[in-house]
Symmetry: C2
Subunit: 101 residues, 2 copies
DNA sequence: TCAATTAGTCAGAAATTCTTGACTACCCGC
DNA sequence: GCGGGTAGTCAAGAATTTCTGACTAATTGA
């Protein structure tokens, strides 16, 4: 069944939990805390991950404005992902989640 | 493949996110904030849910000590689910998740 | 006794998510 | 041109999660 942008409007926390949770998103977020990340670097760091899963996680996180994509016009053409302003605003709650776990 | 208690030890936030996120857990948590809940009441409130999904969400949340099960020995034998101490300790972060969404 | 409500469990199908491997496209060095 | 690194996309199958419907079992009221 197609879930055509059908929102879970009753529960606001659910929205944010969906954006942060998932198989790879928490780790991507944690790594991005330390600075810009690149696609293949993530793939190497996240053991057992796949291009597809990383690409789709990054895409969703970009759509939800957690991260931003930056094209670095260098010799081999790099693409960096960094936390957006909204992403940075979630750092405190992410830290709390880490401490309360 | 069996995921035999293989932990995502690198990312502590992931642990908590997994416990709170999911299709029904955020809503169950939110409803439980207001007071004791019962199985069939949840089923009626959570539109589109199924016994199986609610039962398994409650079971997981109980294992993770977010909620507690209480048998009320009354005429038709009720079972109430209430937030445990750990569950109550997560209320502030849940509220923050709601406000930041 | 029959139907209804309580709280589930179980098996099978459907939906979603993830992994694997092949492939594209650009740039660089040899 | 060939191999290797950059960043992906696509299709197919596997794994996981969820829904549906049938069923259990105890209690209650008619």
């Amino acid at each position: 069944m197609e879930n055509t942008e059908e929102g879970q409007g009753q529960c606001p926390a659910e929205t944010l939990l969906k954006q942060l949770a998932g198989k790879w998103k928490p780790q991507i977020f944690r790594i991005a805390l330390a600075g810009p990340v690149r696609f293949n670097a993530l793939l190497r760091q996240l053991d057992g991950s796949s291009k597809q899963a990383i690409a789709s996680a990054l895409k969703e996180m970009e759509e939800q404005q957690l991260i931003e994509k930056q094209v670095i016009k260098l010799k081999p053409l790099h693409i960096e992902y960094i936390l957006s302003e909204r992403g940075r605003s979630l750092i405190p709650i992410f830290r709390q989640l880490e401490h309360l776990a």
